[in-house]
Symmetry: C2
Subunit: 553 residues, 2 copies
């Protein structure tokens, strides 16, 4: 295009839940929105976490002016410890967002010094040619903002994660007026949260959770244990408020919950009546019916505090009959079985457990279809890009946009790495940059690729069978072995016969090579793999990885 | 107890979904209800399926009089190919149930001859001292029955899997009258399906699905593809009926769907208007807007027909823009991610996909809370045992029973292997027999235990590092190696430096042993494991399995 244009380049968060990251480029200026991580799926065996590929930003590091954050969830800030090693630029965020980020950065690299710029909802900040408006929204973490970015070409509105909660726990309603104002002025491009775009209706208010908590506190005869995401400060506030109302003390358990509560208190995000919050040691002395334990583990994570309590494996809290346990979260897709296992174990210990969304103890932090349509109608954008969601969510959101009258030609269901270029009149996918997933395994960032993962998968299914022989370089004869060692295939002590037969097979293959030049021996490996593999499959219907090793002396 | 008693011994289906199996014993007579399998959970790496441990029945094989089946789902009949190798007893079931069983038995062991006894809903059969009433119920497979078992001590009612559908697709409403009659006479023990016991309200009727199908057929401009469980004959019937109504042809794809349709046609369970069902070859010649494809793959199983279509990997059906695809099933817990991946891929191919329960294209086959209470009120049992469900479902069902007035002392939340003994007045858990899970991996039944699974888990996370050395028996010196081979740990070509340093470490450990007696060498293995393990963890934060192998020559 010859006209003046601004480009939007998604680096994460399209066609996936998590690792949200977006670049906006005007001439020789880039700002980045968010830098999140995502958790590995089942196929990524042994991987700890997944971050965006930022090759594009590293290539353009000279013109990156800053990183702007929408809120403090891992899927929006979790990649920053890696990203900030490469990009030494200022990071803009609200107080709680930066508080959580700083704790994270201190843990990953205490020596580094990072440039953070604290803003509050309502602020307007100029970053290069971009005028960024921080706009309050409701979400399942406090201090979340949408971003209204005025550029020389037009205004870009990025909702971040949001819902339309008319009665949020902190009374900080989404800033409809600012969004309406921008909509009235004219918004060039809207990017909006698609997480719940396949869910009809409205997401219930956080108030519903408060009412259900109140009912549970009123009825409970003994101790109450509440598990939630550590970052859900509204939920923590509701717990503390209810505890104060019913004369109960609250103790906090689980590393991330303890950290977040401490950050939230320091920054003034929790309103705690005097004497309500006590140490875990202290609460053991209080009668059970005057106590609440607030804990991590709402996703059934094996090492979390709640899972350890459920397995009678927590060194300080023991579940006892009479306990009422609230799981104030929904299982993230993929975690259902872990969550259910934890709930079952808690019931086995004699507790009453309140769980699942229909129980009212959890509501989503994302907008459903009617809210998304309201946002579209309020903003009236010329162009629309659904973001934050797997592919089906993006499609459903695009269909919603069409249903409220956005021109289908102006709706872009894009992919990470697409360059979406907009003038005040036209929009198009004009190119592609490197984008994708970088796997983090231990200290290794990006060093585990498809070959290693394929091997892990193979090993996980039927194990490994290792065959070792020592061959004389001079005579070409086998002087030790074949020895067989297996792991994860069969229980070796009970399979001696099978292994003996395998050795027999091996000896007859090796006999063919006896006396050959040693250079011929390496060629035999694929023959061993094939013959032994076939034999074992016939006998067991399993396909272990077969690894022949030939030692030369 | 001195009184005349009957015992109920659950061998599966309590505290778990699947592998349902129950023994009922009166004096020297046992009948068995169902013999199902379950699919492995994530921790059972490489396992194909899980069946009940039937040691108790094998020990008592002389007094087992027969096996009675409630319906033809895998979780109720899937273990029979294994069970019938051990127990040569007659199997009682309705026509469709036996049709599905016989296909399964033929596949697993065509030479064997099995004794099956075909019954129909309404029949009464005497098996030893047990009078078994087969009672029609509604479920997500045709020809499902509850069992009213009159014993000399009292009547036992086992619901099988059921829902209360007032308008089932086949018009065969549950036999309320027989259940009411037994309730009136007096039922000693009720065992009832707990699968949906934590869901409030009522499960919607199969009719809802029919209405939604009709709407979809009316609106679709191009081809329709419907994925469902092969065994859900109601869903297949609804597809065919709709196709007939709207002048479309239907072709069937996917091995299990083809099998079940053929069995259902042979046995008269499908009502097919002439010309509607055609071959897949033939349907390619029909205009797309006059076709329907009925396929397997509603759970996103990687090798299923729908998943292969979604991945553009099916050799005969290609997804094209304009296709309307109905996923007429809910994801089984644990399958969510596979199902979502398939849906995303279908959207990417340009299809419109209708999925999830709120879309109306699927309803559950199990009763929700209000239906379960109705069943309890109709049967008015003296004793109650919730069955078929994970532990939380059993607890919720017990709470429902208490809420309709069953004496809490007469409600037994039992475990597999418990012996529940009942006289006409008393009931108690009076003992315990062997029960549990047997893992099937390939041809191996029960040979993969916790050690093999632990190794597979370890291998799947960080791979394996194999260290081989050849040592002279005479001199105690290393004459070849150390060689290092790894799989699933790091990409070896990119990690030469790390491996070289590891060898360096190794050489210094080995030096300490040089010249020692060969008998000392085996002691060195744990030292190698520890030192190398620690070194690699420091360098990579990964813990591969370390396997030292010493060859002696």
């Amino acid at each position: 295009m010859k006209e003046d244009t601004v480009s939007i380049i998604p680096l994460g968060g399209l066609g996936e839940i998590g690792k949200n990251m977006m670049a906006i480029k005007y001439k020789q200026n880039i700002i980045v929105i968010d830098a999140g991580l995502m958790f590995p799926d089942d196929a990524m065996l042994g991987i700890d976490l997944v971050i965006p590929d930022i090759s594009y930003l590293i290539e353009n590091k000279e013109i990156v002016r800053g990183i702007v954050l929408t809120h403090g969830h891992e899927d929006h800030i979790g990649a920053l410890p890696y990203v900030l090693r490469e990009l030494h630029v200022p990071v803009y965020g609200t107080k709680l967002t930066l508080g959580l980020l700083e704790a994270k950065l201190k843990e990953s690299d205490p020596s580094e010094h990072f440039k953070t710029r604290c803003v509050k909802a309502g602020d307007v900040v100029n970053i290069g040619p971009f005028q960024v408006n921080f706009i309050r929204v409701s979400h399942s973490i406090a201090d979340a903002v949408a971003l209204g970015i005025r550029t020389p070409v037009g205004t870009i509105l990025h909702t971040g994660d949001f819902k339309l909660d008319q009665t949020p726990a902190n009374n900080q309603v989404i800033d409809y007026h600012k969004i309406a104002e921008l909509g009235n002025e004219g918004v060039l491009v809207l990017m909006s949260d698609s997480t719940n775009a396949d869910k009809p209706g409205y997401t219930p208010s956080e108030q519903l959770v408060g009412e259900k908590f109140d009912e549970t506190f009123r009825k409970a005869d003994e101790r109450i244990i509440i598990a939630s995401f550590a970052s859900n400060i509204s939920r923590i506030q509701q717990t503390i408020t209810c505890a104060g109302r019913y004369g109960r003390k609250v103790a906090v358990v689980g590393r991330s919950m303890v950290n977040v509560v401490s950050i939230a208190i320091d920054l003034g995000y929790l309103d705690i009546p005097p004497g309500v919050l006590v140490d875990l040691d202290e609460i053991q002395l209080v009668p059970k019916n005057e106590t609440v334990i607030l804990t991590t583990g709402s996703q059934g994570e094996p090492m979390s505090a709640l899972s350890r309590m459920a397995a009678s494996d927590h060194n300080r809290v023991e579940i006892i009959p009479g306990d009422t346990i609230i799981i104030s979260a929904s299982p993230i897709p993929g975690n259902e079985k872990m969550v259910h296992r934890t709930i079952d174990q808690l019931f086995r210990q004699g507790a009453e457990v309140i769980y699942e969304s229909f129980s009212g103890v959890h509501v989503s932090g994302h907008a459903c279809q009617e809210e998304l349509k309201l946002m579209l109608n309020l903003v009236k954008p010329k162009f629309f890009i659904p973001i934050h969601g797997e592919y089906r969510h993006l499609i459903r959101h695009a269909q919603l946009a069409e249903s409220v009258g956005i021109d289908p030609d102006n709706i872009f269901v894009a992919e990470n790495g697409h360059v979406l270029e907009f003038s005040d009149k036209h929009g198009a996918i004009s190119g592609r940059v490197t984008a994708g997933r970088v796997l983090v395994d231990g200290l290794g960032v990006g060093d585990v690729g498809s070959i290693v993962l394929r091997d892990r998968k193979h090993l996980s299914q039927d194990g490994i069978l290792i065959i070792v022989i020592t061959v004389s370089k001079e005579t070409g004869t086998v002087i030790a072995g074949p020895d067989i060692v297996s792991r994860g295939f069969v229980y070796m002590k009970e399979s001696e016969e099978l292994l003996e037969e395998t050795k027999e097979k091996l000896r007859s293959i090796l006999k063919q090579c006896e006396g050959e030049q040693i250079s011929e021996w390496s060629g035999i490996k694929s023959n061993v793999r094939e013959v032994v593999g076939k034999f074992l499959y016939e006998r067991t219907r399993r396909r272990p990885m077969i690894l022949p090793i030939i030692m030369e002396v």
